[in-house]
Subunit: 561 residues, 2 copies
Amino acid sequence: MTAPVELYDTTLRDGVQREGLSFSLEDKLKVARRLDALGVQYVEGGYPGSNPRDQEFFARARAMTWQGATVVAFGATRYKGNRAADDPNLKALLDAGTAAVTIVCKSSRFQVREVLAVAPEENLAMIGESVAFLHGHGRRVFHDAEHFFDAWKEDRDYALATLRAARAAGAEGLVLCDTNGGTLPWEVAEIVRAVAAEFGPGAPGPTGGAAVGIHTHNDAELAVANTLAAVQAGATHIQGTINGYGERCGNANLCAIIPNLKLKLGLDCVSDAQLASLTETAHYVSELANLKPDDHMAYVGASAFAHKAGYHADAMRKNPLSYQHVRPEVVGNEARILISELSGRGAVASKAESLGLRLGTGDEVRAVVDRVKQLESRGYQFEGAEASFELMVRRLDRAYVPPFELIDFMVMVETRGGRDMLAEAMVKIGIGGGDREERAPGAPGANGTNGTNGPAGRVSTRTLHTAGEGNGPVNALDAALRKALVEFYPEVQEIRLTDYKVRVIDEGSGTEATVRVMIDSSDGESSWTTVGSSPNIIEASWLALADSLEYGLQRVLARRK
Amino acid sequence: MTAPVELYDTTLRDGVQREGLSFSLEDKLKVARRLDALGVQYVEGGYPGSNPRDQEFFARARAMTWQGATVVAFGATRYKGNRAADDPNLKALLDAGTAAVTIVCKSSRFQVREVLAVAPEENLAMIGESVAFLHGHGRRVFHDAEHFFDAWKEDRDYALATLRAARAAGAEGLVLCDTNGGTLPWEVAEIVRAVAAEFGPGAPGPTGGAAVGIHTHNDAELAVANTLAAVQAGATHIQGTINGYGERCGNANLCAIIPNLKLKLGLDCVSDAQLASLTETAHYVSELANLKPDDHMAYVGASAFAHKAGYHADAMRKNPLSYQHVRPEVVGNEARILISELSGRGAVASKAESLGLRLGTGDEVRAVVDRVKQLESRGYQFEGAEASFELMVRRLDRAYVPPFELIDFMVMVETRGGRDMLAEAMVKIGIGGGDREERAPGAPGANGTNGTNGPAGRVSTRTLHTAGEGNGPVNALDAALRKALVEFYPEVQEIRLTDYKVRVIDEGSGTEATVRVMIDSSDGESSWTTVGSSPNIIEASWLALADSLEYGLQRVLARRK
């Protein structure tokens, strides 16, 4: 297939029907500019008849220069009983000053009767007069055939009559909408094929020569498939939204449709460079929308090319196409290897390599895998806590010298006599492990209390014993530990904890439950995440905290060398 | 179509390949029980060869009673060079003690060469011997044909040879996997049709009579469509996961597939009552997975039947099927009307009705719509802040007497001489509006500072002037306000603020930006959300806070009557 297709984005109109989504005027303009850069041919900017912000959008858009996009205003047919020339909605559409407009029209007898409450013939007159009015004022007109697929099943002759009314009045595009999102792909294909035969580019007769469009919704999780089915059946005008934003379950997701068209159907709807900007565009729009991106979205999600299963990760090392349907770079995304309890040797070796750690022998790899499995059975999870993973690998190397070692800690939280709650901590640590004596493995004091803090057997040259307080126990521990470290490592002052998360692993187990703590830290230049797990929340917090500072300080030590 | 289909859930095995997802043993058992209740025929419990937790799962599952589900263990073919009888993975599969097992087998020459690194004939032997070994030990065997669709495109004869090897050795099901998730629906249909013709229930010859299965991934956002295409082409065994959990972009989502099969294809794969438990099941599993449910998921999402556009909401009042492809009750979900800047009179009237507020005349509805649009242009958003919406409607009624009215407030935040940061607030309010004098609209003191706190013109009988402090400015304001209210309304002590969220509306605008504050509150019996918006974060917080307490107290007043 090489028929040209055109992309029509409706993120700024139908997309903002999504619950919780609204854009400021400035953000709407930013999104429109980005869509233009992505290579979308039509950018629907809003519904000028419905709210003042959209009117302002079109005023601002008129003053801007566009690379290739045509800005489109959206509206409805004239109100029943109005003359088109007197209809305020149609006037607002003209006032938007766009070269093209889209008007929503009823295709279904059921909708005309129940919702519009007019006679079927009056609806045809509303369509024809509205299109003719806009066309007569020099506008390119797209006819948005609402509920078209349901209408076809109900009364296909009437559905076709609405298209003929629009076409006869000058509509250049007939956009078939699966408004309720419940149509199946083979139904879409059959109906689009029939419509394209009468109205499509190659169709003979007075109604031929139009662009047949497709606009789907995701209520049966079929919006992308329905769009592709329509293209296969002859549709050339494709509507959708970035990230699939839209009312209820969303509109057809252009972030899946564009790569499917280009990479699977061979339709050059955007350039290679534009396709490579897709992931960034998806994240940019979600950022402006203030919505967390869906990590699992096809092509553009952060997890779209993330490999967890041990034998998948192993195969990926052998050949990157073994568990990827396309190369992530072509859509601007990247592959990632995750570390998890299911990971085998391949994943661990890949991960270690990507962190710049050399695991020379199969035995070393096996030792890391065993350690991961052991810790994960105790509630650890290294996905997203790569700093703790890296420390664990380093600690298995007998040449590794940690920047400090825990000796003792104590935390006290109390409230007394109506005063504020008090949190205090005491910490004893050793620093300067270069001068080591051997100690029996498992002897108290030399390592982290539940085992991530490396092999026992190291004793430090200098012992420090400090106390601190804070607004809570972890904050107090952090304060005491830093007090001890700052004399040896003034750089510790640059390390900040930026987030602290707690998750109960086994919720059914009450106060016995294991908790997992994750801490995000930053030194201003980079950031890292660490994990600790224990049935004692203080201990879990301590482990994540100690890892955070150890990770930051071993980078300081590496720089000093 | 009325051919029977069977559902096979792999949430506990392939689903947990999702980044960030892991279940405890107890949670795995809970999910399995819920899947059994949903009517799934096969519950794949895990990969006993890969980790100890899955071995424990099968030990526990053997001791349980199942309504109708068969628990299935998953594994791989024997390792290259092993005899089947000596292979530890196959032994772990037998040890799981399940009636049925699934083994993953390579279908693709590319995979066999690059990843397995064995000759094509050795792979056929690995398949045949592994299936025969398990079948010989009395297990029902499903052959999981990895990368089948890619394998078919590469070398269909070899792909078919792997199926024949499995079938000849006793496999009862041949599950065709789109492992990399990149196949298109019409390709799936064509390939499944060809496989079903040789191996399906009605196929003649020695290979016929098998269940042809489908297992898809969502990397092109086509997993559900590909599953339905396979069913149309003759597949009768359907694999997927709850909420579409799975590696990368996820597996085929049973929460969309089940209602599509039953409601659209007329295949009675679960009972009506089971289908009505689908939304609850989806949320239950996401709760155990500790993952936020996707509100926009087809059928089961909280927004799946939420209507925002003004004319959609209006049409929904006229006929609930006008913008819904199915009735939400059949899947255990419900319709909701959202209030937003795009809402017209229909949405406002519906919303007011659902809150038990009567808006008698068109003028009253119009006054509310105008007020919503005015406030939304200043950064308000009433979606999710129904308490503020309700108060706004009540305040437009001249007979409404608010429980208190703001007169003045002052907040001070300072840090000095190394001491803790200090936050103090002073509040002056009037209480007892029953005895009112008229005051000029707009006169200072009688209403909330940016206009949500009802019409001006009310003066109170008693003025209270209090101060409070807190760990931050809003906390201090809250303290001062409660101190004033508690004498008149001791019930205020039961109202707690449970969450406080801030969002910057116009991020590009620096310190001039408008912020929106939302506060969740609870009185132990029910909870509500309020909103405030202003360029001054203290003012925005005050507005949301005052709404929170006013909403709680007007319910108290209503109860006193």
